[in-house]
Amino acid sequence: MTVDEVSLFLALLAVLTEAGVLAGAVLAAGGRVVPTLGRARDAALAAVGPQALALAFAIAAVSMAGSLYFSEVANFTPCRLCWYQRICMYPLVPLLGIAAWRRDLAIRPYGIVLALSGLAISSYHVLLERVPSLESSSVCEVSNPCTLIWVERLGYLTIPAMALSGFAGIALLLLIARERR
């Protein structure tokens, strides 16, 4: 697959994750008010909750693989903020993998903290990409500024925007993770 194909594939997965997060938010908020949404929320929780750790692991693994593909195969040099996001995402892979295997819900607070930290960093990174003047100066570093947009798919999905979707998906899944019956 070419870089274009891989980046579009990852972007589509990010859209899928965003749709899931959005649906989760609507069901969580609307379920309190509208009884039909409440029933849909309960059904979704029953279906997804027991699989949430495995799904969160899958998102983290794909995110890590995508990040390594961009840096090691496509030769897109990670910037400072990219590294901070990697620091949050990469440990989630073994942590969530082992937790999913052992069905260990005790991982939830640790995973949520990592995911929310990554979410905050990627949000700031996306903001910097859109408003480069938010940087402390209006200068591009000679080597690799954080404002540099390597990839932009579907009109808005840059690499940190995809990471943001991944972190949001992982955080939501860890919030709704339930024991299997």
């Binding site: 274009d4 279906a47 799904l55 000679v142």
Partner: protein, 232 residues
């Protein structure tokens, strides 16, 4: 029908229906495969624009001592002679930035830098109406070009912006940029008629600052000092 076949049929009839979790995973895998197929087919005809025959980096020859990098304090390069750069433009026409007795403003731009992408159209629009003092030469250096980075190739980007400033193409290892002590993009070097640095600055600048740099290069310090520039 044999007894074994009958047993298998009964077992299949009595097997529990697939659980919601099974459907979840089947649906997910289907969507992922669908996304992969869409990615492959949708990317078939997309290719990055290229300009065949136009070199985006060219060898340069540098003579003279390199300038120190621009730091945050007073600029140590002010008063020092610029290194001379012999090279060529995008079309291969020889071009040189030398101590030729003419004041000049040299601008270093990188195609992938969002600040350069914002600055170039400002300068293009400004130069349509502004009058550069007679005898002052404007040069640009297209540097840090990389086909792995966005907005490549720089020749197409600058042409699209209507860039009319003579542009020297830096080498693949950005030797001209390093010789001028470039510390960030965009980067501006005002040079007086003696070939000495009058002022340097990096980052996006206002057109007042641009005019101020040109005036400094021309030796006219009658403008109000610009707070963004080191005062000399």
């Amino acid at each position: 029908m044999t007894a074994t076949q009958r047993r298998n049929r009964t077992r299949a009839r009595n097997a529990p229906p697939p659980s919601r979790s099974t459907w979840l995973w089947v649906g997910l895998v289907t969507v992922v495969i669908g996304a992969a197929l869409i990615a492959v087919f949708a990317s078939r005809d997309s290719s990055s624009p290229s300009q065949p025959g136009v070199a985006q980096t060219r060898p340069v020859q540098i003579t003279g001592a390199p300038l120190p990098a621009l730091g945050s304090g007073a600029d140590p390069a002010v008063g020092l002679p610029i290194p001379e750069v012999q090279g060529a433009g995008f079309d291969g026409t020889p071009l040189a930035i030398t101590r030729d007795g003419r004041p000049k403003l040299v601008m270093f731009v990188a195609h992938w830098c969002p600040h350069c992408q914002r600055e170039v159209p400002l300068i293009v629009a400004h130069l349509r109406t502004a009058t550069v003092p007679a005898g002052v030469d404007l040069f640009a250096v297209s540097t840090a070009a990389s086909d792995a980075r966005p907005n490549f190739p720089p020749s197409a980007w600058l042409a699209d912006e209507g860039w009319g400033v003579r542009t020297l193409v830096d080498s693949a290892s950005s030797e001209a940029s390093a010789a001028f002590g470039v510390s960030g993009f965009p980067f501006f070097v005002a040079v007086d008629a003696n070939g000495n640095v009058v002022a340097r600055t990096s980052g996006e600048i206002s057109m007042d600052t641009f005019d101020g740099l040109v005036a400094r290069a021309a030796g006219r310090d009658d403008r109000a000092p610009d707070p963004t520039l080191p005062v000399r």
